[in-house]
């Protein structure tokens, strides 16, 4: 398990591994928003939590198509299935590696980008909290989508179409928690819902991912 985690993180940092792609995408999307909306500070401040959450979600999506497809293409997946590692554990570890290389940098970068979008000061803490709580769910659900499309050449677009609807609950409660935090309201309810979604997906999704992966390899 640890070997797989270390390998995936190592691969992400090597050439062509895609580390930083999601982060750079998040950065650019967020920088583009003030350009398209115009210099209206009040408006930017009120849409900032939603924009940051949507940007983080899309950035997470960007690296999903390489999560399992690369291992499928070079035969690693076949060998992993025949290895002593339980497949449920392997997909969980791969989702964790995806979160560490994609989700975690987004969480850390979000406050900086919040400044660009004139996020109210009260919202920074809640934005980081909601992203930290919600992005693991994005990685785990995304791994399920990647497992579904693993045998399909150039399945990236199909993967996005499959995964985006599944991201809706996470987005609603995540962005709502950040918005309430920014307005100085109590964000406890959406945060608890978000935590529920994350824990449920982290607990259950690996079984679904492993099941569809086994089917996809047949």
């Amino acid at each position: 398990m640890k070997a797989l985690l270390v390998r995936d993180i190592k691969l992400a940092f090597r050439a062509g591994g895609g580390f930083g792609l999601g982060l750079a995408f998040f950065l650019i999307v967020t920088v583009l928003v003030p350009f398209s909306v115009g210099p209206q500070q009040a408006l930017l401040g009120s849409i900032a939590p939603g924009v940051l959450w949507l940007g983080a979600l899309l950035a997470c999506l960007l690296s999903l198509d390489r999560l399992l497809a690369l291992d499928f293409e070079d035969g690693t997946l076949d060998l992993l299935v025949t290895s002593p590692l339980p497949l449920e554990g392997a997909v969980s570890v791969k989702a964790l590696a995806h979160w560490i290389t994609t989700g975690l940098p987004l969480v850390l970068a979000a406050p900086v980008l919040g400044v660009l979008l004139n996020l109210p000061p009260a919202g920074f803490g809640w934005l980081v909290a909601s992203l930290a709580l919600g992005t693991p769910a994005l990685s785990v659900i995304g791994t399920f989508g990647a497992a579904l499309t693993v045998g399909i050449k150039r399945g990236g677009l199909l993967l996005s179409l499959l995964v985006l609807p599944l991201y809706v609950p996470t987005l609603i409660f995540g962005a709502e928690a950040a918005r309430r935090g920014a307005l100085g309201l109590d964000p406890a309810t959406p945060l608890l819902m978000l935590a529920g979604i994350t824990f449920a997906t982290v607990g259950l999704m690996p079984f679904a991912s492993a099941a569809v992966l086994r089917m996809g390899l047949r």
């Binding site: 797989l4 390998r7 190592k10 090597r14 070079d74 035969g75 076949d78 299935v81 025949t82 290895s83």
Partner: protein
């Protein structure tokens, strides 16, 4: 070294793409035995090996002794091009909980290449690395699909030596190949088990729907 359990296949039918390709396949593998699978292209050797390795389900029949005993190697070597030779081997060594990679490096003359990235190796060198992986699985039954593709004659000799050493330790091997490895092995011709095209055996074309 390995317990004397054997891989046993009986009345096995396998399908590819929803169509049965082989039916009624049966053989036993005892420790120290190598079985060479022969048959023309498309006769179902790969499908049979994938089924035995547990990567797909049989239509009929039973495979016993396969669980957690098989080291599988196919056309794709499962190498990461951005990891070095040693890193690739160490990864699989940790996955299989096997202590050392040195014998594998030596058996396939990979030591001079140890720090090279796998992506910079030639096709034959990659294959040698893929075959070296078998030695660090510590598993008794090697299931190999065309292991000698892109190997030169000296590398084929290294492979044959590695198989012989594996058999001498009480392991066994099931190898689909077209060339003569110089092994003292039995030959199993799968073309005798070709499935009748009208025998559907419950296969479905679900995969195409």
């Amino acid at each position: 070294m390995f317990d004397p359990h054997i891989l046993s296949v009986s009345d096995l039918s396998v399908a590819r793409g929803g169509l049965p390709v082989l039916a009624g396949v049966g053989f036993d593998l005892v420790p120290g035995q190598a079985l060479i699978l022969r048959g023309p292209n498309g006769s179902g050797k790969t499908t049979l090996l994938r089924t035995i390795a547990g990567l797909q389900l049989p239509l009929q029949g039973a495979i016993s002794g396969a669980d957690d005993r098989i080291a599988y190697a196919a056309h794709a070597d499962g190498l990461k091009s951005m990891l070095s030779v040693t890193e690739n081997l160490l990864f699989w060594a940790e996955i299989f909980g096997y202590p050392q990679i040195d014998p594998a490096l030596d058996a396939y003359a990979l030591r001079p290449l140890a720090t090279r990235l796998a992506g910079t190796l030639s096709a034959g060198q990659k294959r040698r690395l893929g075959l070296a992986r078998l030695m660090i699985t510590g598993r008794p039954v090697w299931v190999l699909d065309e292991p000698t593709v892109s190997l030169d004659s000296s590398a084929v000799a290294m492979f044959a030596d590695a198989v012989r050493a594996h058999l001498a330790r009480g392991g066994s091997a099931l190898i689909a190949t077209h060339i003569d490895l110089g092994l003292d092995a039995d030959v199993f011709d799968v073309s005798a088990f070709r499935a009748q095209t009208n025998a559907r055996l419950g296969a479905s074309d679900e995969a195409f729907l």
